[in-house]
Subunit: 141 residues, 2 copies
Amino acid sequence: MDPRDASSEDGSAPAAITQSVRFDAAGLIPAIAQQHDTGEVLMMAWMNRAALEETIATGWVAYWSRSRQALWRKGERSGQRQRLVELRLDCDGDTLLLHVEQTGVACHTGRRSCFYRALRNGALVEIAAPLIATEQLYREG
Amino acid sequence: MDPRDASSEDGSAPAAITQSVRFDAAGLIPAIAQQHDTGEVLMMAWMNRAALEETIATGWVAYWSRSRQALWRKGERSGQRQRLVELRLDCDGDTLLLHVEQTGVACHTGRRSCFYRALRNGALVEIAAPLIATEQLYREG
C-alpha cells in the first residue's frame, strides 16, 4: 500500500499540524520518540499521515512500518506502548519530536532505547543490556 | 554532487562504525543531535559517509545539506558549532544519535532547539523564543 493513500477518511485531525507537516516524497516524516521526563531518546521511526492522525486522535503512538508497509501501532504485539505526552514539530516542518511515556522498553531487542551502541575509542560497544528477553516480548498467546 | 561519491579518500574512519552504519538509497543517514547534559533534542539532520567520517575524525559535527547538496560544517557561518561528545547507533544501524555540546543555538531561527512548535489543544504553538536575532547569526564579516 502506498502510505500516501493511507490517510484517514474522516479528516478529523487538527488542521494546524497536518497543514504544517511536510511529508517526504514517499509520504513519510521521521519521528523521534523521547521519554518526556528523563529526556532519554528512545527510538526514531517514520509516520505517514494516517499514523500521525491516529496518534493525535488516540494519544497512543502509531508509526508506518517501512519493512512491513503497514500501520504499526507501537506495542500492539509486545505491550510496550507509547503514550503521547506532547507532539513537537521542527523549524522546517519535516521532523517530529514525540514526548512519550514509554511502557517498558522501546527497542525490539528488549533494551530501553534503540541507541544502545556507542563509539568509544574507535570501537562500537554496547552500553545497555536487554531488560526483557525478546522471547518474552513477542511470545505467542 | 552525489553524496555517495563524497567519501573521504584516506579511509581512516574507524571501521567498526562505518561498517555498521546503513546509509539509505541516497547515501544518507538521519542524525539526531541531543545536548549531552540536559537531554534536550536540538535538531535532526542528515549525514553522508564523508560527513560522518569528518565528524568522527575532527570531533566537530558535520552534516550533508540536502538543499545545498554540500557538506555542511555545523556553525561554519554562524559560529554555533556542535562538539561531538558521543556518537550512538540504533539497533537497525540506520539512525545516529549524537550527544553534543552545542555552542549557542542549534536552530537557524535563533532558537536553542529546532523543535520549538508544539501541538497544544489542537493548535500548533511556539514554545520557545529566539535567543539570537537571525541577522546577528548570519551577518556578513
